[in-house]
């Protein structure tokens, strides 16, 4: 007696809940590992998962068991040299000769418990408690696209939208409704006629009346049309507003002589974090790289991060170029625009005030969010001070100061932490 069941198509993630429980329980340790990892890892593989290591002592499940010491007898196979009474030096450590020593009873050694979390889990942990900054309602309203979605059926429409099954169902129902009574009468009449036929002397008058009635009924039934314009059903569509999923991220960076490669790497990490974060919210995220010294230029990623320039610094050139690109290519009605500017704080002194003015009057109203990070171990200069004055009046501007690599992730969290409701 046996029967086979094919379970291969059943869900394979029966343990998913337990896995989540595990992650939940060790969230603190895992989050620590995640934020350590972000500053250690090479930036390019940020898009993959992360391998998490938890100290084994933290996840032990203790139970009573025997420790070392005392007297034990063990039976082993494969004797090739021993005679009773032989003395053997005690193997050092947990050697094989000792068989089931303490190590195996512990179940796990003292290595850290290492496991991989998926990209999604990694990003969830990385960006947990982070949200896009509060956005003005009118901005949200503006960024709408319409999408056609099915919504039921209607009685009028164009032929291309006819739903055949629905229409024929209506036709069938109408025909049943319109002929049922007549069919019943027809049946009765035919029965009566049949009875008349059986009689020895049929009542000719009644027979004729019945024959006539039958013919009339048949005609009436046949006159019910197979399909009527009344039966037709058309698929209905509605336009549903959907928030646009297009976003563009502007990366602005100072590449003047004062920015060294290490500073650029830090900026790059920040941009990558921002990119990952945005790509969790928006389906398509485009990136525009603008680098500047005294002049600004739109470049590709490679050039942005790795080409060296020298010269002074005029930040407003980059802002102007950005404004230009926005006006030409990224209609703020359709695009969610984010910008992150990284700099070591140097700017031509006369330029800082125009920068702030340009930002405040022209750019910020078009943008979702503008983040300025200053990567410098030194004191702030005029640009920072100018931006600082804008903070009070502009919700979508944030400025932060980064001193070293390990600051990036905390600063990023600081910028995007969920606002208390």
């Amino acid at each position: 007696m046996a029967h086979f069941i094919d379970r291969r198509l059943n869900g394979k993630n029966k343990s998913a809940v337990n896995r989540q429980r595990f992650i939940r329980r060790y969230k603190q340790q895992i989050k620590q590992a995640v934020s350590d990892a972000i500053s250690k890892r090479s930036v390019t593989d940020l898009n993959s998962g992360e391998s998490i290591s938890i100290p084994a002592r933290d996840i032990k499940e203790p139970f009573f068991h025997q420790g070392k010491g005392g007297k034990r007898d063990r039976v082993h196979p494969g004797n090739d040299q021993f005679s009773p009474g032989d003395k053997i030096a005690r193997p050092q450590g947990e050697a094989a000769g000792n068989g089931k020593g303490d190590a195996s009873q512990d179940g796990e050694g003292n290595d850290d418990f290492v496991f991989a979390i998926s990209k999604d889990e990694y990003l969830d942990l990385l960006f947990e408690d982070l949200a896009l900054p509060d956005l003005k309602q009118n901005q949200l309203d503006k960024l709408v696209q319409y999408k056609n979605v099915r919504s039921g059926y209607r009685a009028e429409g164009i032929p291309a939208n006819i739903d055949i099954v629905r229409s024929l169902r209506g036709s069938l129902a109408r025909r049943i409704a319109m002929t049922a009574a007549k069919k019943q009468q027809l049946k009765d009449a035919e029965q009566q006629l049949a009875e008349q036929e059986k009689l020895a002397v049929p009542d000719e008058l009644q027979r004729r009346a019945l024959t006539k009635q039958i013919a009339e009924l048949k005609q009436k039934i046949a006159a019910v049309p197979f399909i009527d314009s009344f039966d037709l059903r058309f698929r209905n569509y509605q336009k549903r507003p959907e928030p646009t999923s297009k976003a563009v991220m502007f990366c602005l960076m100072d590449v003047s002589g004062s920015m060294d490669q290490a500073t650029k790497e830090m900026a790059k990490r920040f941009y990558i974090l921002l990119y990952l974060f945005l790509s969790r919210t928006y389906k398509n995220v485009e990136v525009v790289y603008i680098r500047h010294h005294t002049q600004a230029k739109e470049v590709d990623e490679q050039e942005f991060f790795y080409s060296q320039e020298t010269g002074g610094t005029i930040v407003s050139s980059a802002l102007k170029l950005m404004l230009d690109i926005v006006q030409k290519r990224y209609n703020p009605q359709e695009w969610n625009i984010y910008a992150a500017q990284a700099s070591d704080g140097d700017n031509w002194a006369e330029d800082s005030a125009p920068c702030a003015k340009l930002l405040a009057e022209q750019l910020l109203p078009l943008l979702r969010y503008y983040a300025y990070i200053e990567i410098t171990p030194r004191a702030h200069q005029s640009l920072w001070e100018q931006y600082q004055q804008l903070l009070a009046s502009h919700q979508n501007l944030a400025i932060q100061h980064i001193r070293e690599v390990s600051d990036i992730y905390p600063v990023f969290r600081e910028l995007f932490k969920k606002q208390a409701a």
Partner: protein, 501 residues
Amino acid sequence: MSSLALNTGPCLDDGPDWSFELLENYQQQIARVAALYKLDTYPNQIEVITAEQMMDAYSSIGMPLGYNHWSYGKKFIQTEQHYKRGYMGLAYEIVINANPCIAYLMEENTLPMQALVIAHACYGHNSFFKNNYLFRTWTDASSIIDYLVFAKNYVSRCEEKYGISAVEDFLDSCHALMNYGVDRYKRPQKISMEEEQKRQEEREAFLQSQVNALWRTVPGKAQNATTVSHFPEEPQENILYFIEKHAPLLHPWQRELVRIVRKIAQYFYPQKQTQVMNEGWATFWHYTLLQHLYAEGRVSDRFMLEILHSHTNVVLQPEYNSKFYSGLNPYALGFAMFTDLKRICEQPTAEDKSWFPELAGSNWLETLHFAMQNFKDESFISQYLSPKVIRDFRLFAITDDSKVANLEVAAIHNAEGYQQIRQLLSAQYNLSQLEPNIQVQQVNINTDRALTLRYIPHNGIPLADNMQEVLRHLHRLWGFEVRLEQQDNLGNITLLASCQS
């Protein structure tokens, strides 16, 4: 090789890819032959699953469904890691002691492997589950699935009511004492879902009232106080049961959780004690049944070669100095013992006649069935380990006494050593010597309600140093001070550890 009449027939398709139709054919043939050998089984429910599902099954210690707990998640992650890195292959099958008996076949197996697994799990293990006295006494195959459903639902209801963390922490504490949630001597009650649910609420109320009676603070008659001055009257081995019945502060739902953990521990208790026998029995039968089919000409040479290849791997016993050595392989030892038992019955030597006078020349099938039904590893080895098996394995015993500088070879596979090896190997499978003997010694019911456990070391083996952590878990369950003391062979009592509020 078979002593039974052969019923030759056409050779079955030998794959190597399997189909459900082919599996059914093989299953029928194996069932037919198993009946010839009087293998009495529960009906089989054979489920084909993928490797991922097999890992799921692994992490819930083979239970088809279990309540949710992080430790199963950890187990799953470990299994997945090891499997993906190739440290470990997955078992070809998992079989569950239930009625019908559930066996999982992995999709990746070839046809011969599936046939091997069907013979091994669905007829070997299955007949063992149904007939071995430990399983018959301690587990109720017909209700285990129901009980697991009940447990899973109960735990998730508790999580909804009291929060995931509260339930999780509490289960952690129960798990820490899971090995002490077993009745070793008393026969347990059968468990089934309807009964469980029907009685659960009454039990809650009743239990609570019992606990309250014990801990009543209103002074009763002075007489009462003296009669219960030592509580419990006898030391209690089942610590979780003691907690469930007597812990002063637990809520009814917490008592029920203790009960669930304890019941599941009880269910797995026989499996721990019959590894060698169970695997040996299943291995013996997959070998015998498939050899029988081969002798009948029903399976091809190609099929049989793959079977023998796998079989050889299963019963491989690395020697003590091999880098693959990790103790005695229960499959190898069990298979060798059952095979040798058959040989003793059929072709006894003079040695066998003096060692096993009743067995030599008896009906091998009856003898094997009797051995399977009435023993556990410990007693099976002390009863049936023959000098020939000891010689074949070249077994030797090492004494490791921490008071002495060197290890000493106590006995080897010679005439003087057979008895001692047999006795030592049997002791090696004696759970009561492997698990520390810890019992509830005393509760100060009239004073500070402190709970005292007593550890009685075996051969002077101390407890591992994590006892403080375990005590913390016990403290969470008991709610008042817990103490752990040790009694040495001279009867001296020393305090090992304690955990106060």
